[in-house]
Amino acid sequence: MTTDTGKTREYNLSAEKPRIDGTLKLTGGADYAADRNLPNQTYGYPVTSTITSGKLVSLELDEALAMPGVLDIFHHDNFDQLSRSPNSFADENLTSEPRLPFEDNEIHYQGQYIALVVADTLNHARAAAMKVKANYERSDEFLTDIKALDRGEGELPGEEQPGDASSIGDADSAFESASVKLDHRYSIAQENHSVMEMHASVAQWENDMLTIYESSQGVVFQRNALSKIFGIPPEKVTVISHFIGSGFGSKLFMWPHAIMTAVAARRLGRPVKTVLSRTQEYLATGYRPTSLQRVRLGADDSGKLLSIHHDGCNESSPAGKHDDTVSGATPKMYDCGGNAAVTNRLVTVNKCPPCPMRAPGEASGNFALETAMDELAVKLEMDPLALRKKNFAAADPTSDLPWSSNHLKECWDDAASRFGWDKRNPTPGAMQDGDEIIGYGMATQSWEAMRQHCSARFGFRADGSLLVACGTQDIGTGTYTIVAQTASELTGIPIEMVDVRLGDSQLPSGPLSGGSMATSTVLPAVSAAFDEALSQLKSLATAEGGVFENADPDTIEIQSGKLVQGDRSVEITQLLADNQLGLIDGEASAQPGDEQNQYSFRSFGAVFVEVRWDPGISRLRVARVVSTIDIGRAINPMTARNQVEGGIVMGIGMGMFEQAEFDQNGYPYNNNLADYILPVNADMPKVEVDLLDYPDYRHNAFGARGVGEIGLTGVAAAISNAVYNATGKRIRDMPISIEKLLSA
């Protein structure tokens, strides 16, 4: 049933449509994971380690067990025997933390689960959890700050990852002989995803079948992992995630709270609801790891790049390895004379495992590269935009494959023009307005365009509505809506008549909601399933006694909910009624094909930032952001722009506010939403986002390359570059906090 590889047909589909799930979200009707109370339900509340490293010696549970409403407490000594998931991405059973809950008594990080209290009410569970006493053997050997390891010159700390190292040409020689050289270090602090909906599991066993309501960006992955962990067939596990209070990567792969909740539900024979607290969320569900980076650029006097070296280092965890590969995309960004070399290293820290966070790797690496480019421009006394234009990569430098579609030059020009870049005075501090000094900065934005295998189901119902189902998720990106748009476009049936089902592992297997690949992955599968359902409709119509008896199916078209052949037509509802059918549906799969060997797929964009610096009160604010992005075709430009605007806000957080801090004892200092500073509405600058519209039909039949990540990339660098233009201070360590500006 595999059909569409993306090249047989081209769809012309792009429309600004309000979200089809909007009414549910706006009336409180959207059911997020914890938004249910099952009959006979109980409440789980985790107990977590208060030490950073060492051993759990014993738990004192008597007082907690005697608390009102307590049903049981699960921990190392009484937990079920389970198996670790094989943790394979290819087999779609990867988890974020391979270690099972309570697997042993080793403590690897503060916030690690040491027990789960289950009680009849949330209040009772939480009160009892506070009464659990833990005795530890504390280890003084721990690390929570990788910056402390850096010598500030030469190689970065950590263990080099051989799989990450890649090179083209001879970067070392090219750098040595370059007339203009630059060699700087950059760093970005740990960022917390800070999803508004805290991770939650509601687990229920019925006989030997597990149903778990989870806030998940990957119901199929979680279903497969639970199947392996509990040793039961995948069809006996159902993971449901109809609505997700954002994920940004932290909900891609299952965390241990889901496992312990499922165990508790099985043992008690009652549903268990576990909702993490914000602090538990911050300590046990991943983060963008702190990264240290070194960038070396070699250029000639005209600004032509001769070489790029980019070395990265990020935090990993003893409880789960994560490689952010911050330098990975760098060789694709510019024509660097055919000479580039990148490496990446890992340092193990006593924190929970890091995990992907929006534009993983690239958001961090882009900051270093795009800041270095600005520094090179300053060194060359060259306009930063002109420097980038001079080094435009006409083909993918790492493979010499042509880009499938690349309109970066237009992004640069369009954004520069709308921003008023020509009014920039390159002399730091030269642009003033009252108490404030104005700074302009820019950066190139980029994100790889990926596509995965996907299955979907497409159905025509007797009542005239459509059913479209896929085991992917809508994490706020608008997947429900673009699937409905697609179904409506394919059939001519109004979007209001399309019923889209996502977020259920019982549906045909769909992709993770991550990596900006859901649109390009899901829509081809939807159209393939549509083809399958349509061919069944045609079979009915052309069958003996059918309305188009013996007609050639290829002469039949679908128009406005009707099958049309020549001047004859039949309502699809009539066709179903005539055959006494409630539903005709087809299931099909789609996956990328040979085009993957012919082109390099990548989105590009440009972001320009105006900052305002009031030196009299040390106040820095982002005043204006203009971004132009080429993502191929935006299926829904309204929701797509929203993604980019949201990425800009997250970039302001990365550039100015966000850093998870650990003190000298490894204590997580700002483990809550008051002390971990996120942008609020008052921080929102004037933002103008423009999406170019050049469908990339080489990528898929819809011409869409996805939009979730790219809006974030470049923003921190553009802020940093604008800060230099305003202050003459070059801050290479994100975020640009007040004290850094004062001490620089």
Partner: protein, 329 residues
């Protein structure tokens, strides 16, 4: 959250009776501090006494021209009261710079006076903290102290007082009315909050069983007034440094001046040295900066908060400048 009893009282004498004189009881009004800290198990009341039905919701001008504010007046109501807007704009600005729309709607005047520090070590019962558990040590001294105080600290505690409202009240001048089992008494607002010294657990001059019933603001000082709050993000964050300034001019000279600071001190801080340095002097930027320097003469910086000395001075100089501009307007 731990279990507690809940009692509602209808009259002040009921609220302050002698039987409350033990540690296990806490008053609740807006709840924004108490419930936050009970959830964290930092405050551990056996019983919570709901005082929201007490008749303490009025704002009235006294015969001597002072403004008497009931302890249950919400932060929003107080900030937007016409007399406060007209006569005490520095207080209104301070209130509106604090917290968020929703929290200001909940928080009471008396509760804001009783706000506890935001020191993360204080807020975690697993961490040593002299304020929460005397004698256990101060985790902030050697830990992360970016948000901590540089004025009024001791070797036992460097926790910052978090309130904006209190800073406005110190600048405006105020008196607290306290009702207790042994009757009513008044305390100057500036004397109410205590420096940590050797006993950081003693935060204020409220005797067991007493309840704040009113805040009485001094007669209006006139002049130009301004509250400036500096922080990382633009809203919904506690001050890293803030300044309430009231400036009266006699020609080009400063005739009267009040300066109070938030975000940099262990209590709502009256910067008398700054006032003395500026009073009678020409209202110039140079003199504003000199006054700002004077305010921080005795400041002590810790490992992460040295920037607050600069930031605090900047807050003073700018607040004085803008208050002066208003005085001239």
């Amino acid at each position: 959250m731990r279990a507690f009893e809940l009692e509602s009282v209808e009259a002040i004498d009921q609220a302050v009776s002698h039987r409350r004189v033990h540690d296990g009881e806490a008053f609740i009004a807006g709840g924004t501090t108490l419930l936050d800290l009970v959830k964290l198990d930092v405050m551990q009341p056996e019983k919570v006494v709901d005082v929201t039905r007490l008749p303490l919701k009025r704002i009235e001008t006294l015969e001597d021209g002072r403004l008497k504010i009931g302890a249950l007046v919400s932060n929003t109501e107080l900030a937007k009261h016409e007399i406060v807007l007209r006569d005490y704009p520095v207080l209104s600005e301070a209130l509106l710079s604090g917290a968020s729309t929703g929290l200001r709607n909940m928080a009471s005047t008396g509760g804001n006076v009783m706000q506890r520090t935001r020191c993360p070590y204080f807020r975690d019962p697993d961490m040593p903290c002299n304020k929460r558990e005397p004698g256990t040590g101060c985790s902030a001294l050697d830990g992360i102290n970016r948000n901590h105080a540089v004025l009024g600290t001791s070797e036992h505690c460097i926790a910052t007082h978090p309130s904006d409202m209190c800073v406005g009240m110190v600048a405006a001048g105020a008196t607290l009315v306290l009702e207790g089992p042994d009757g009513q008494r008044e305390v100057a607002f500036e004397d109410y909050h205590l420096l940590p010294g050797d006993h950081p657990e003693r935060e204020h001059d409220l005797k067991p069983g007493e309840l704040i019933t009113h805040v009485i603001l001094d007669t209006p000082r006139g002049g130009g007034q301004h509250y400036l709050k500096l922080r990382d993000r633009a809203s919904y964050e506690f001050a890293l440094a803030s300044c309430a300034a009231i400036v009266s001019l006699d020609g080009d000279n400063v005739s009267e001046v009040r300066v109070a600071l938030g975000g940099v001190a262990t209590k709502p801080w009256r910067a008398t040295a700054a006032e003395e340095a500026l009073k009678g002097q020409p209202a110039t930027q140079e003199n504003f900066e000199r006054a700002a320097d004077a305010a921080f003469t005795d400041a002590v910086a810790y490992s992460h908060n040295g920037y607050k000395i600069t930031l605090g001075k900047q807050a003073i100089a700018r607040a004085l400048r803008d208050a002066t501009a208003r005085a001239r307007a």
